[in-house]
Structures are given as C-alpha cells and as structure tokens.
C-alpha cells in the first residue's frame, strides 16, 4: 500500500483561559496597549448584543442573533481585515461589522425590520448579512474572482457557522476557490451548535478545518476565544490571499453562550451546566486577565469602558428608535433600476391605499 495523501490540522492558541501566554505573541500583540482596541471591540459588541436582546424583549426590535461568547471571532476577524477587503457575514458578525465601520444604528435598523439598515455607511462593498445559511460562500468566491481579475491586492472574507459547513454550496465555493486560488478566507465560527444540533451531529469529520484539505488548500483551527489567535490566523490567511497564495479556512473553536436567537430557548436541548462550564473560557475575561496581569488595565479603565460602550449603544438605540418608517412605496422602489410598467400599477394601488389609510406610514 502506498499512502498518497495525508494531512495534519494545526491548532493555534496564544493565550490560555487565564490570559497567560502559552507561546511568544505575534508582533501586533507584543505591546499590551495595542490590544486595548480589540478588547474594546469585544466589550462594545457584548454591550450591543445585550441592548439588542433587551429591545427585542420589550417589543422594540425583531428577532436578533446575539454573538455572546463569540466576540473574539468577530473582533479578531474584523481587526485582521483591511478597509479595502470585503466582508461577507452570516448573521451574528456584528462585532466584525462594527470594526469595518458599519454603524450600530444601521444594524439595529435592519434587525428592527427596515431594509435601509443594510445600506450602511462605511464598508460600502461589504455584503449585508446572509440569512439562507451558507449561500454567501459562493458570493465570496465571486467577489474574490473580481479582485483576482482586476489584479487587486484585496481579499474576501466569508464568515459562516459550523452548521453551514454541511451545506453543499459551501463546499462548492471552497472547491472553486481551491482550483482558481481565489483570494478568499473562510472563517468558520464553530460555536458548537446549529440551533439545537450539536457539532458532532453535523459532521463525522474530526475538525471543520480539514474540509479545506479536500478542496486543495489549507485549514487551520484556532482557539476562537483567544482574540489574538483569531486575528493572527485571519491576518496570515489574508496576507496569503492578497499575495496570490490562494484561500484558507480558519476554524475558530468557540461556544455560543446565548440562545440561538431571541426566539430560541436553548434549555430545550442543552444543559445549563454545559453552558455555565463554558463561561470560564469566554474571550473577554481572558483578554482582560492578560491586560490586567501586564499592568495595562485597571478596574477604573474597565468601569470607564463599560460606561462608554453603554452610552454609545444607548445613543445608537435612540437614533434607531427615532428613525421614521420608510414610505410604503419603497418596497417597489429598489426592486429594479427602473420600475417596470407592469409594477407601476401595483405601486400606485399601494400608494392610494396608504393615502386612504391616513398616511400613518409616511416617512
């Protein structure tokens, strides 16, 4: 017998759950002060998520997907990207979107049921969130092909879940990226759950990272609660992609501490004990320990940051709540570059109806 293929999957971690370095830190993490923006990004995301859940609970926001416990995946990915790269998020990557410059008000507007929330300022070429699981992997390949054709040193970053890796389309996209060496990075947020289906019921593969091997490129597993490891891995993958070295899959191993969304009740399918046990691994605490041990973070710093983030989120929520509803006819106005005559009639009917109803929807 001749062995014609073999592989190994690397697992990378820089900080252990106590915040202690387990190996020399990458350059960007040498000076603890440089890690404060990452820390801030995670705290801001947690603060935003808490507010969004509260808004939903009080009937002021639609269904929302919190990223509780996965803030390091979002912050690490967002921080690794350059402005000119393009992010294709799934639906709980708000933390990465904020670092890219998307406004909290806009994302609240989206989850509040207003399309204008996806017309965010900032990263204008970034995709809106993707609800049909995994379907955006192919878009990422298309975006990456556009960069490659124009000879631009840019890359696409597709963030998807552990559940999404079971979708055929995700493999189709990875396969193409491998063949054409597309400048794309697939970041898998392995939060152990796809609603109620645990990771081990999703695939018999030992890792999700190894799915890249079949597609002919490298996959790496990182501790997804170690923001340094996530940023480092995504940064390296992006450098490789931008310089023509092709795609990478980064599997960030983390844990979904929240319900799947605000309409989910995770106690139906997992033990509270499992969740409590995972709290000791959570990413914010880990980086805080590291910063505190290095003398770069104090109780006062923490209090100030929490207050600051709280204010920022409050202001965004107020701006969202104060945004008037769109005119009803806007449901027609962005369907096509120019509204076909066929639809003009339906639009006119709606406008007339809204007028009769007293125009209570007027933006």
């Amino acid at each position: 017998m001749t062995e014609i293929a073999s592989f190994a999957i690397e697992y990378r971690r820089f900080l252990d759950p106590d915040g202690q370095a387990v190996q020399p830190l990458p350059a960007f993490a040498q000076d603890p002060a440089d890690l404060i923006p990452l820390y801030r990004a995670m705290v801001l995301t947690r603060s935003f998520d808490a507010k969004a859940v509260a808004l939903q609970r009080t009937g002021r926001l639609g269904t929302f997907a919190s990223s509780l416990g996965q803030e390091a995946v979002m912050a690490g990915t967002g921080a690794a990207m350059r402005p000119e790269d393009v992010l294709l998020p799934s639906f709980r990557e708000q933390g990465a979107q904020f670092l890219r410059g998307a406004a909290m008000t806009d994302l609240l507007l989206y989850w509040g049921g207003d399309e204008r929330g996806s017309d965010f300022a900032g990263p204008r070429e970034d995709f809106p969130i993707c609800v049909p699981v995994g379907t955006h992997a192919a878009h990422a390949a298309g975006v990456a092909l556009a960069f490659q054709l124009r000879g631009e040193a840019r890359a696409a970053v597709c963030v998807l879940g552990d559940g999404a890796t079971s979708k055929g389309e995700v493999y189709e996209a990875m396969n193409l990226a491998g063949v054409w060496r597309l400048p794309v990075v697939f970041v898998v947020n392995n939060n152990q759950w796809a609603i109620s289906v645990p990771r081990e019921r999703q695939t018999a593969a030992q890792t999700l990272a190894q799915k890249a091997i079949a597609a002919g490129f490298g996959g790496v597993q990182v501790d997804g609660n170690d923001v340094i490891a996530v940023r480092d891995a995504v940064e390296r993958a992006l450098e490789q992609a931008r310089s023509g070295g092709g795609p990478t899959l980064v599997e960030a191993v983390t844990y979904r501490l929240s319900d799947h969304t605000t309409v989910d009740d995770a106690s139906r399918y997992r033990d509270d004990a499992e969740v409590s046990a995972r709290w000791k691994d959570e990413p914010i605490l880990r980086l805080r320990r590291h910063l505190t041990d290095a003398g770069a973070w104090s109780k006062e710093d923490e209090e100030r940051l929490i207050a600051e983030c709280g204010e920022e989120v409050e202001a965004a929520a107020e701006a969202y709540l104060a945004t008037p509803v769109q005119p009803v006819e806007s449901m027609f106005d962005w369907l096509y570059a120019e509204l076909p005559g066929d639809l003009a009639e339906q639009r006119a009917g709606l406008v007339a109806e809204a007028g009769l109803a007293g125009g209570e929807n007027d933006g």
Partner: protein, 326 residues
C-alpha cells in the same frame, strides 16, 4: 447578410457584448474550450481569453452564486446552465439573492447578471433535458425572465439582457436552436425588454405564446388563414415584466384568445395571462380563454415526447372550439 440560427445569434450577441464592455464575462460548464454543449459560446475563449471566459467546476448553485458576487463587484457575468433541468439547485441563489440584492441594500449592491439556459423539449434528449419551468422564475420578484423565439430576437434580447442593470434569466428554446434561420444584423441594436412582439396580425383570434411554441403557433395560423380565419400571433418574449397592454389591445379587436405553452398546464404562465385577461379584458371577450399546454405529467422520455408537446394540430382544435362561440 447571411442567415443564421438562434444559437449562432446567441454567440454573436455574446461576442458583441464582450467586445463593447470588458466587464462582460462568460462562465459555465464546458463553455470555454468546448464552446458549450450547444456551441453557444464557441470561439469566445479563443477570441477573448481565459480572463473573460471560464470553464467552471460542475456546480450549479455555485454558478449562480459566483455570478451574484461578480455582479456586486460591477462585473456582468453571462452564466450558462447547460440544461434547464439542472438549474433547480441554483433557484435558491436567484430567489434569495440575485432578485433581492438591490432591494435589500437599497441600491448599494446590485446584480447585473444574465443566467442563460437552453430549455424545452422536442429534440429527443435524455431524461431531465427537456423541461420548461419558466413559470417558477416568473414568480420570483426582482428579476426579468426573457425567452427569445427567433435568431433576430435572440440577438437583440440577449444584448438588452446583458446591458440591463438587473438580473435576467434568459431561456433559449433549444428546439429552434438550429432552425429556422434568419438574417440578423450584427449592429449592436438591443430589443426592448418589456414588450411583446406581434408576429402576425389578424382580427379573428389572438394566439399568445413564447419559445419554441411560436413556430407551432405560426404554423397553425397559416393553416387557419387558408380557412379564412386570420389569427394575430403574439410572442410574449418577456414574461417578466409582462407587457399585458399588447395582449389586451389585440383581444380588444379579436375578442378571442388562446394561450399556448409547452410547460405543464397547472401553474403555468398561461394561467397568469388568462387571469389578467379575466381582470381587464373580460368585456372584449366573446369566448372563454383557452390554454393549450403540456400536461401535468413528468416530461416523457423521447418515445412519447411528441404526444406531450403541444402541436399545431392541438392548437387548431382549441381555436376551432373557441371560434364556435358566437
């Protein structure tokens, strides 16, 4: 000017569009070296190179999905699906993404893509190679559905589809891919994407159709003319958006309408046209609206295929029935 076939007109329009706009790309299975299984992309790789023409891996959802990504980045991919029967996995991308991207980002990202597929029966093709499910696409908001039925219209409509800033599903009736031929001026003139073509004028009955059924319908109209019945024949060509005005105007002076399509009857697009006639044209009608369509069966394999396909004979029978109403 030489006479060319529909498939050659597609090729001509693709070459013209690629010549005039370097963001136009051609993607699909076997579209490069092989020039497509029907040769619709023949010669494009040699002429425009491998940065414009791409043989992709075999994955239909991917084909539509990368087109969405390229479209959002300002490219104009014209993507071939080898046969309509293999388009199903990509409908997800059309309905969930292509047709929605402009709307859901309020115009920030758009999707100027064309998804081409040969469709329909009548060429004794293997299983899964003869379906017509244009009505499924016509149900999807935010896209256009275009079906040429002659070489000249294929040329003009494809150019228009490629230049259009929104996603277009472009379905090519493969039964008339090679014949009949006609003269096509390669002058870059696009056809309108929102109006029917009246192919024959007449005052006695309106025959509404599209795709390969245009030929059968014209043949039936010819026979009727010999019998003293003048049929107006309308090629819908753009199912979505639908130009109902042309159909209504015709029915105003004929008072009668038969709709012919090859796709199964129930839920077929003929039902939409009939419903709109009932809504807006009832006062003009002197007889019921009749549909001649494929059966609600699985498309039979080639030995029974001709019994499935609506024929001139079936069209004539329907017309006679409708003409019997006073």
């Amino acid at each position: 000017m030489a006479e060319i076939a529909l498939v050659e007109a597609v090729q001509l329009a693709l070459a013209r569009a690629m010549e005039e706009d370097e963001t136009v790309l051609v993607l699909g299975e076997d579209v490069g070296v092989n020039g497509g299984v029907f040769r619709a992309t023949d010669g494009l790789l040699a002429r425009f190179g491998d940065k414009r023409v791409f043989d992709t891996p075999l994955a239909e959802a991917l084909l539509a999905g990368i087109s969405v990504g390229l479209g959002a980045q300002g490219f104009r991919p014209v993507t071939e699906f080898q046969f309509m029967g293999f388009f199903y996995p990509a409908i997800d991308q059309v309905a969930n993404h292509a047709g929605r991207l402009r709307n859901r980002t309020r115009g920030r990202l758009t999707c100027p893509i064309v998804l081409r597929a040969p469709f329909g029966g009548g060429i004794h093709a293997p299983e899964h190679h003869s379906e017509s499910f244009e009505a499924m696409f016509a149900h999807i908001p935010g896209i256009r559905v275009v079906i040429p039925s002659s070489p000249a219209r294929a040329y003009g409509l494809l150019l228009a589809a490629i230049r259009d800033p929104d996603p277009v599903v472009f379905l090519e009736p493969k039964r008339v891919y090679r014949a009949p031929k006609e003269e096509v001026a390669d002058d870059g003139t696009a056809a309108p994407l929102d109006c029917c073509f009246t192919l024959r004028e007449g005052n006695d009955i309106t025959l509404v159709t599209w795709g390969a059924m245009v030929q059968e319908t014209l043949a039936a109209a010819e026979t009727l003319s010999g019998q003293g019945v003048e049929a107006e024949v309308i090629d819908v060509a753009t199912l979505k958006p639908l130009d109902m005005a042309t159909i209504l105007t015709s029915v105003e002076h004929t008072g009668r309408c038969v709709i012919i399509h090859e796709a199964p009857l129930s839920g077929g697009f003929g039902g939409e046209i009939a419903a709109r006639l009932a809504d807006r044209g009832l006062v003009s009608l002197t007889a019921p609206v009749k549909r001649v369509a494929g059966f609600d069966t699985v498309m039979p394999l080639p030995r029974l295929e001709e019994h499935y396909m609506p024929s001139a004979r079936r069209i004539l029978a329907a017309v006679r029935e409708i003409l019997e109403y006073a």
